[in-house]
């Protein structure tokens, strides 16, 4: 019995660590929706691109994923900014389904470009110094997961700090709270939307970098992770930043427990059941605002 409990504890720890990376990915989705009101249906696809870039940089230049984080985040910040500023901004005033279709089209294009360029086979990164687990008494902690979760926590904290303490961050929050008010006081709303999308994309880049240490990457990952991000964000509360992290950890733990008690292939069934429950019982999510 005690061995079982330790086994469960190990699984829960692994779930929490992976959940923090999920949380960072979903934080990006939450920022994009909360500020620009755009339903980023290409979120998982963007993360898959970041994962491929990490794998390619590692294979070609031997660049450590932990060093690739910053340049990738910068590239995605610029990419996200440009995407919102050129293509998505005209859609802000169009009906929701129209935006949905646009992002869906972008997602389909991204997935199939990856498929054409890299083929359907899975790719992965093996770092020698991550192979040995950390022993904490009876518990075993996977080094790759631990470091990835730490990076996710640092990135999330940085983003929280940016929104809390800088002028631009405050302006973005003002935009999210009251779009009209923000325009009245003279904020360049469209530019702030683009910046918010860029920041969301940067979160995705960091999360993708870290995910490439946890799982193998294939072009087909995109849609599954888009859905996962939506599940997490809705469970936590769409637009709530701390909700995204909490949702990530919850889903991470429930996925790994479902893998232990049922079968790993049924793990996302638990997540979708959770999503349906939350949508019906508390549509604004666990930490969501009333509006």
């Amino acid at each position: 019995m005690s061995i079982d409990l330790i086994g469960i504890a190990n699984v829960v720890i692994a779930g929490v660590l992976a959940g923090l990376v999920y949380g960072l990915m979903s934080l990006g989705l939450s920022v994009i929706f909360g500020v620009a009101r755009v339903v980023n249906f290409a979120h998982g696809e963007m993360m898959t691109i970041a994962m491929y870039l990490t794998v390619v940089l590692f294979a070609a230049l031997d660049l450590d994923p932990f060093l690739a984080v910053l340049p990738l985040a910068a590239v995605f910040l610029a990419f996200g900014y440009a995407l919102q500023a050129t293509i998505i901004n005209p859609f802000v005033t169009r009906p929701a389904h129209s935006q949905f279709m646009l992002l869906l089209a972008i997602a389909v294009i991204m997935t199939n470009l990856l498929l054409i360029v890299f083929g359907p086979d899975a790719r992965s990164i093996r770092l020698d110094y991550l192979l040995e687990s950390i022993e904490l008494g009876p518990l075993l902690i996977d080094r790759g997961r631990l470091y990835a979760a730490l990076v996710a926590v640092v990135a999330s904290t940085t983003l929280f700090g940016y929104f809390r303490f800088t002028r631009t961050g405050t302006a973005i929050r003002a935009c999210a709270d009251n779009w009209l008010g923000a325009r009245v006081v003279g904020l360049d709303v469209k530019r702030l939307y683009a910046l918010a999308f860029g920041l969301g994309a940067a979160c995705v880049a960091v999360a993708g970098c870290m995910m490439s240490l946890l799982i193998d990457v294939t072009p087909a990952l995109g849609p599954a992770y888009t859905l996962l991000a939506f599940v997490i964000v809705i469970v936590g509360g769409l637009g709530s930043m701390s909700g995204a992290l909490l949702g990530g950890v919850l889903i991470g733990v429930s996925e790994s427990l479902a893998g232990l008690f049922f079968t790993p292939s049924a793990k996302s069934m638990v997540s979708f059941a959770l999503l349906i429950l939350v949508l019906l019982i508390r549509p604004r999510g666990l930490l969501g605002n009333k509006s």
Partner: protein, 323 residues
């Protein structure tokens, strides 16, 4: 309807009715696929185009409808003409309960769309582990004699399947045309344009929205039955996948959401596009997986960006201008 439209419909009908007498099997299979998506698009259009409820989970009804009739045939030998009623009723019940839950709890907009996806995905993974219908390994129906037409068992020649789906597509068109001018059609459009205002006018929005979901689900269930007996194999990863839902909605979006001809025109354009893309990719020697889907993505992107109301409204204006 104007005389021009009637002429257009009569011409189209004549070509479609006569097609099997002069077309080869390849053309017939492309035409069958076109009509399948015209039919399924029409079904989806009732829920989204008329009543304004965006579903991205219609693969749920496609899969449940197909699996229900196929399982009855496979396990008990119940013929599809009888089994399809079970499929329809089952999908109506599922649609009604999902709609009732969503609308009762005020799930709307993006949240409603995500709920439809969640139900479809939940079911897909469930069917992967549902051994009675073969799980992820799939279920296979015995292929009948290809030259012998048996309409009650949906076993027969490609031409038979073609006429079945042609009849379905024509019936769906007629039903949509009638619905759009019925009391339900006007209520749906009022709900689509402004739900609060519709409610203030005394429309029971809850009941009418459910009706739209139920009709759409029932029609899509039939598409599932057709698909199951046409292809003779069913896989959860195929039937329930979100890509099926996306394929269903592409036609109406490209053709024009909320219009009668949009789903048909969109499905025709997509069939031509798919065929053209296959030819082009073959001619250029780019036969890599993903090229065709990439072309779909680009077309969807172009249409959504530059023709937000679809191709049909533009074409209709051109047709009017000619006279």
């Amino acid at each position: 309807m104007t005389r021009r439209v009637i002429f257009l419909l009569a011409g189209l009908g004549a070509v479609l009715l006569g097609l099997p007498s002069f077309a080869n099997n390849y053309v017939l299979s492309v035409a069958t696929l076109f009509l399948f998506f015209a039919y399924a698009g029409q079904a989806w259009n009732i829920m989204m185009g008329f009543a304004g409820q965006l579903s991205l989970g219609h693969s749920l009804y496609l899969g449940i409808g197909g699996y229900a009739a196929a399982a009855l045939y496979f396990h008990y030998g119940i013929a599809p003409w009888a089994g399809l009623w079970f499929s329809i009723v089952l999908c109506m019940l599922i649609g009604a309960s999902m709609g009732a839950l969503a609308f009762r709890y005020g799930v709307s907009g993006v949240y409603f769309t995500l709920l439809t996806i969640a139900f479809a995905e939940f079911t897909r993974i469930g069917f992967d582990h549902f051994d009675w219908v073969g799980g992820s390994g799939g279920m296979f129906l015995r292929v009948g004699q290809r030259d012998h037409v048996d309409l009650f068992n949906l076993r027969g020649t490609p031409a038979m399947f073609y006429y079945v789906i042609l009849a379905l597509a024509a019936a769906a068109f007629a039903l949509s045309a009638w619905l759009l001018r019925s009391r339900a059609g006007y209520y749906w459009q009022a709900i689509r344009e402004n739900e609060d205002a519709a409610q203030a006018l005394g429309i029971n929005t809850f009941r009418w929205k459910i009706l739209a979901v139920v009709i759409s689900a029932a029609m899509t269930a039939l598409a599932g039955v057709f698909s199951a007996f046409y292809y003779n194999n069913l896989f959860p990863e195929q039937l329930f996948h979100i890509n099926r839902s996306i394929e269903i909605i592409l036609g109406p979006i490209i053709g024009g959401i909320g219009t009668l001809f949009g789903p048909i025109l969109g499905a025709a354009l997509l069939a031509l596009l798919a065929d053209g893309a296959t030819e082009l990719v073959g001619a250029l020697g780019w036969e890599v997986p993903g090229v065709k889907q990439l072309i779909y993505g680009v077309v969807l992107f172009v249409v959504v960006t530059f023709l937000p109301h679809g191709v049909w409204p533009v074409l209709a204006r051109k047709l009017k201008a000619i006279k």
